[in-house]
């Protein structure tokens, strides 16, 4: 099985949240031990919900790069002929809205989930991503994203450390549109 599979019994058991004393230990010793980069004290944090717009142009550009062919992603008339109010977002469009939410947070001086857990992009890999679709996302929607930092865990004797993030994308009238879960990891240097 892939190295990124999540063994539930490992979750949260192989390391403890860092304390102030840990930093000193990490700096003064080179013996094998916890050398994680993630800030595990953020476990359980829920980021402030953030509202973003679903733009037609973003749907079209994203669908074009992925070489989707269904006109419901490109032509408003085609989408309306199928009974949709506007362009339909592709299945992985959640990631676009997540990034848009991060940019909006940045403009407000709020940290992204990646910043909160102290992601180091030089060593970051993506373990897995899962979406549950409850309602479609349409161009013109205003959607609110709420992200939680669920857990941290280690694998390969601490050579890789993981964080589990869960997000809910909600529309004011249509309720929850997408539930997303992802595991990110550091391939530790």
């Amino acid at each position: 099985m892939p190295a990124t599979e999540v063994p539930a019994h490992h979750a949260g058991t192989m390391s403890r949240a860092p304390t102030e004393g840990d930093e000193k230990v990490g700096e003064t010793t080179s013996v094998v031990g916890p050398k994680g980069i993630f800030d595990r004290s953020t476990k359980g944090r829920v980021l402030e919900p953030i509202t973003v717009q679903v733009e037609r142009g973003r749907i079209q550009f994203f669908a074009q790069v992925l070489q989707l062919t269904d006109p419901i992603h490109f032509e408003v008339n085609a989408a309306r002929e199928q009974g949709y109010p506007d362009l339909v977002a592709p299945p992985s469009f959640f990631t676009v809205l997540d990034q848009a939410a991060n940019e909006a947070r940045g403009r407000r001086g709020q940290p992204s989930a990646a910043a909160l857990v102290n992601v180091d992009f030089r060593y970051l890999l993506h373990g897995d991503e899962a979406y549950e679709y409850l309602n479609p996302i349409f161009a013109g929607d205003e959607v609110t994203l709420t992200t939680s930092i669920l857990d941290f865990y280690d694998k390969k004797g601490g050579a890789m450390e993981f964080v589990t993030l869960a997000s809910e994308l909600r529309h004011a009238e249509r309720g929850v549109l997408v539930c997303a879960t992802r595991n990110l990891l550091h391939r530790l240097p």
């Binding site: 892939p2 790069v65 299945p91 992985s92 990034q99 030089r122 479609p136």
Partner: protein, 139 residues
């Protein structure tokens, strides 16, 4: 593509496969812009090398988005109930990706019928880069 083939879906059926690539640096730049994932390790070779990588490599979510086309081009986007994938290996520049789906189960749920689809993305030399699963409403 038709409701008939959805209704006839049974375990062992293969969905039409999708090829994507070969992946170019240009596609990685476009995906960075389209997705908003501006992590420079995928588009700036200097940043990739500074991280100990020999070259830029593809966003996992690029292959993820292409893999999701297998169930949706078969059944239509509105029938997709869930989609997930594990990033098993990196996708390199010049890789040609083939995405495949096989129906593994058809089951009754909530007064309807769903199909479970096992998905893989593999490269031209047989490396598996993603394994995934989709649930599609077929009836």
């Amino acid at each position: 593509m038709t409701p008939v083939s959805l209704a006839a879906a049974k375990p062992g059926d293969m969905l039409p496969e999708i090829q994507f690539g070969p992946i170019t640096r240009g596609v990685l730049a476009l995906y960075a812009g389209a997705s908003g994932d501006h992590n420079l390790i995928h588009i700036d070779i200097d940043m990739a090398k500074a991280s100990g990588m020999p070259d830029v490599f593809a966003h996992g979510m690029l292959s993820f988005g292409v893999l999701a086309r297998v169930p949706t081009e078969w059944a239509g986007a509105e029938r997709l109930r869930s989609f997930s994938a594990r990033f098993v290996a990196m996708t390199q520049v010049h890789d040609l990706i083939t995405c495949r789906g096989e129906i593994t189960e058809v089951f009754d749920t909530e007064g309807a019928r769903d199909a479970r689809i096992a998905l893989t993305a593999t490269t031209q030399d047989g490396r598996t880069t993603l394994t995934g699963e989709a649930i599609v409403r077929v009836g």
